[in-house]
Structure formats: C-alpha cells, structure tokens
Amino acid sequence: MGDIIQTKGLTKKYGKLVALDDLNLVVEEGAAFGFVGPNGAGKTTTMRILATLLRPTAGEAWVAGHSVGKERQAVRRTIGYMPDFFGVYGDMKVWEYLDFFAACYDIPPATRARLVDDLLELVDLAHRRDDYVDALSRGMKQRICLARALAHDPQLLILDEPASGLDPRARIEIRALLHELHAMGKTILISSHILSEIEEVCTHIGIIEAGRLIAAGSLDSIQEQLQSHRTLRIGLLNRIKEAAEWLAAQPEVLDVALLTEKEKSFLQLEFSGDQERLAQLLADLTRSGFAVTQFQETARGLEDTFMRLTQGIVT
C-alpha cells in the first residue's frame, strides 16, 4: 500500500510563534495513525493544513497524491474531517443534516436517501432519524458529525480529538466505531490526549512536540526502538533462588529481583540483549534444569513511551 499522507518540511508560523517546524510525516494507506503530543504541539495545525483549512508558511503536504495547497477540491473529496470543536445546525432534523452535507459533496438526490439511512445505521442513530439535531446528546452529536464526515465515502478520516468531553460510554461507542471504520479499510488520522485510547485504536503513532515530529512508525517498532533494555518476568516451578543466582551470572543480565505477587514468587529481570539473545537465555535456562512456567517480556505502555520521548515543551 502507498502513502496516503505525506508532508515535506511543513512549517507554520503565527508571527514569531512557530506552530509547526519542518514536519516530515508519512502515513500509510490503511493505517490507523494516532497523532500524539502535548497541548500546543502542533497536532491541530497539521490536521487543519491537511484538511485544506490552513496554508503552511513553508513546505508542502499531499493527500492521496494531491497537493493540499494546489488541489484543494481533490483533497476535499478524499478526506472526511472532524474538528476538535464544532457546532451543529440544531434546527435541522438528523436526516436533513446528513442529507445537506451529502448534497454539499455533490451526491445526487437519488442516492442520498439510501446513503443517509446507511450512515445512520453505521453510527447507530437510525432511531433518531426524525429528531432535531439539537435534541441529541453530546456523544450522539459526535457520532452524527462523524457520519457527516463519511457522507462522500472518503479514503482518509482526519479526526481531531473525536472523544474529547465525552462520557465513558460515549467514548467506548466512538472507539468501537473507529475500529469498524478501520476494518472497512478507511485510513484514520486521529489525535487524542487519551493515550490508552490511541493504543487501543491505532496501528501506528506519531509523537509531536513543539511542532517537531519526534518519532513515527508502528506502535511496536517505536516501543522497540526506545527500549535500551528489556524487563522480563520469569516464573519457576521450584529452585527459584538457585535460578536467581544462575541468571545473575549471565553476561547480559543487568539485575535480578525476587518478587512476590498474590502469594506467588517470580523473578524480574533487566536484560540488555536482543531477541536472539533472549531466546538463547530461555534455552540455556531450561537446559540447566530449571522448570520454567512463565517467561514473559513486560510490555511498556504508550504512556511510558510518550513520557520517555517528550519533554513537556509547549510552543
């Protein structure tokens, strides 16, 4: 699959303030790309440039091969954009709202009625079809806005904090919807402050701080790159103290600790070797006659990765 988003040296300045600084971003088609960064890092600015709402001071961006600056209409056909703060036309009925936006995307009237019903089905609002938009809850408005962004069947969804300000149930519903859209083959560029949410929804992430892209890639690869050593959890049937001594004597083992959790003892190991050395360690351990019941690498969460990478700089 090709790249659906590509930016080269993207820079945006507001007077002396540098909101984006030489941003080079690539998002593969079909990815669910989480855009993570502190407030004021440049996430919304990047998304607004990609959505044709803002011109960069320097650099260029392409969406599905179309220049964001020069082929705005082609880009608009390709994207579905949902801003972080948006209003709705409260005096319209739910179906009218979707029908209106579908018409704004030049979808012929003959196909609009069916399309509106399909979109309402997708976002689980078919039962509110004839209600006024103003009567919907915040979570429902968020969903109707997402349905609006899907009216023209875009390849790419640009969603700026789609779950902000929602209650837990509404967040779960939005997350489920995003999973469904990703499964349907949509590429999703999503920004969120809730890292656990990004971790659950996204296949790739980009971490941005002070207008600069610090890291980007698949979730696993980024975490892999960051790890100077691995933390392992090893469970044994017996001879646990002997095993601790044996492990401490191995060359790439930095530290061994005997821990107890829920009346069960296990060893926690800091290991500086790579994947091959890790496999070798397990093989040596069993060859030495230790009955291994658990040999697991403790995963570092996105929060940990984020904290390691960012310094809390705000432009």
Partner: protein
C-alpha cells in the same frame, strides 16, 4: 441550471444545497408565518387609518373619483415608504449574520471542507434572504393593489416601486453579507450595515435637502453666474446622482417627474447659462437608483466571494 462536477446539468436549487437548507430553516415552524401575519396586519391597520382619515375629511360632500384617486395615491405612498424601510432594515439583518454566524456557531469549517465553493456559499446565503424579503414585498402587493383600484396610481408606478424594492433588498442584502464575511462578529456586522442603511435612507436626503436649500437657486438661476456654466452642470448632475442613491430620494424624484412631467424616463431641467435658458436632460430617479444599486451590488457581491475565497487560502 448549473453545471455539476460530474458534468450533468442540474436544477439550481439542487446545485445549491445551502439555499435549500436556509429556506427550509427560515420557513420552518410558526415564526416566519407569524412575522408575516403581524407585518400584514400592521400594514393593513395603517392603510385603513389613512383611508378613514382622508375619507373623513370629505364628510361634508360625496367624494369624487379625483378624491378617491388622492386616497389611492396616499395609500400607495405610505405602503411604499413603509415597505422600503422594512426591506432596507430586514434584509441586511438576515444577511449580516450569514457567514459570521456560521463562524460563531463553529459550523463554518465543516462547510469549508466540503465541495461547496465560495460562490455557491455566498449566493445560497444571499438568495435565501432575498427570497424572504421578496415574500414580504409580494405579500403587501394586494394592499398596494387597493390603491391601484381607487385610482391615482398607474400600473407603471406599481411596477417601478416593486423594482426599487427588489433592488433595495438586493443591495442591502449584499452589503450585509459582505460585512458578515469580513467581520468576525455578527453584532459588529449588523451595526455597520444599519449605519450604512441609515446614512443612505435618512442621512443622504437630509444632507441633499440642506445642499439644495443653500445652493439650488444659485446653480439654476442668475445668482450662479459667477460659477462657470459647465461646472454648474457638473454640480447639478453630481447632486442629482447622489440624491438618487437614497431609496427615499429616488422614490421622491421619480414621483415628481411622473406627476409634474408625466414621464417615466427623462425630464429637461431649465438652467440659466448667462444669456438664456439651457435645458439639460436628467433621467428619472429610479433609473439612476436601480442601475447604481445593481452595479454596486454586483461589485460588492464579487468582493464578498473573493473575500470568502481569500479566507479559504489563509
């Protein structure tokens, strides 16, 4: 008809979903009909009052057809002036919030990321408002028709006032939408467009009245001999043009020429040239007004579209 992006010709309403949305929103519920009903009731009461007052003055004798024609004219003038003010102040009130309101409601960006062009956006907003203003104008036609039935008013006069009203709605609607595109706040846009409406409807005639009072005789008669004739003609044309930029001024000059010169188009003004009289032709007020407002309105409409396009590329 308009060209779709797929090359298919489609009806105008279909090509501009914003127009359909705005009209649907404006006419939805009881509000639009209540406003229209109250407007017509007030206008009807006013017409009845004029009719009763004038007819009462003839109580000592049976009114002749000439008297009834006078009643008809009075009703026609009164309804026309009221409609002129209603259209002048209601149309920009709607358009002044058309784009700034979208920004304030945070719906503007959603529109801007669709395929709706700046031209379709501005024309959709403008024509939705003009349609409602046109409804107000046409709804009052039966009341003006009453004047027509009583006599003293010709079909041409009725057609002319409708033209002037339509052009007023168009021009002030465009001024409102221009301010709405330039300014971020609807309240500021509304205040500014009302300022301009007041200046043109009230301020300009007052200034011109003062100007005519002070210099009118000097320009037309022997008193102006010290001013070269050509300069005086230029001054007369300029003053006449400016007075007809006001809807009230244009209505008054048109009526004067129609009544006194029996002409809908032109009249000859007698100006002293030092050795005798020279007649200079002056067009009727409605011609200057409709042409000036049409051209100005179209220029401002183009400016509004460019302003919206410019904002798209910031």
């Amino acid at each position: 008809m308009a060209e779709s992006t797929t090359g298919r010709r489609k009806p105008w309403g279909e090509s501009n979903p914003l127009l359909v949305k705005e009209l649907r929103g404006r006419m939805r519920g009881a509000r639009a009909f209540v406003v229209l009903t109250i407007y017509l009731l007030l206008l009807g009461c006013f017409v009845s009052l004029i009719y009763a007052t004038i007819v009462e003055s003839y109580s000592f004798r049976f009114p002749t057809s000439a008297d009834m024609a006078e009643v008809g004219r009075a009703i026609f003038y009164a309804v026309s002036i009221i409609q002129l003010f209603v259209v002048t102040f209601i149309t920009p009130a709607f358009t002044a919030g058309s784009i700034s309101g979208e920004r304030e409601r945070k719906t503007y960006e959603l529109l801007r990321t669709t395929l709706l062009s700046a031209r379709r956006l501005v024309s959709g907003k403008l024509f939705a408002t003009l349609t409602y203003s046109l409804l107000l104008i046409l709804a009052a036609v039966p009341l003006q028709g009453l004047a027509f039935m009583l006599g003293g008013v010709t079909m041409e006069q009725l057609a002319l006032i409708l033209l002037v009203l339509a052009m007023t709605a168009f021009f002030f609607g465009v001024v409102g939408i221009l301010f709405s595109a330039i300014l971020r706040k609807t309240s500021t846009a509304t205040a500014l467009v009302y300022g301009i409406a007041l200046l043109l409807t009230v301020g300009l005639p007052l200034v011109l009245l003062l100007f005519t009072g002070l210099f009118g005789i000097v320009l037309l008669d022997h008193g102006g001999e010290r001013i070269p004739f050509v300069l005086r003609v230029i001054l007369i044309y300029s003053a006449y043009f400016i007075v007809n930029l006001s809807p009230v001024g244009a209505a008054v000059t048109t009526e004067m020429i129609l009544v006194e010169e029996s002409s809908l188009w032109f009249f000859q003004l007698d100006v002293w040239n030092g050795g005798g009289s020279t007649f200079i032709p002056l067009p009727s007020g409605w011609i200057i007004y409709t042409l000036a407002y049409l051209v100005l309105g179209l220029v401002l409409l183009r400016l509004t579209i460019r302003q919206v396009q410019r904002q798209e590329t910031q």
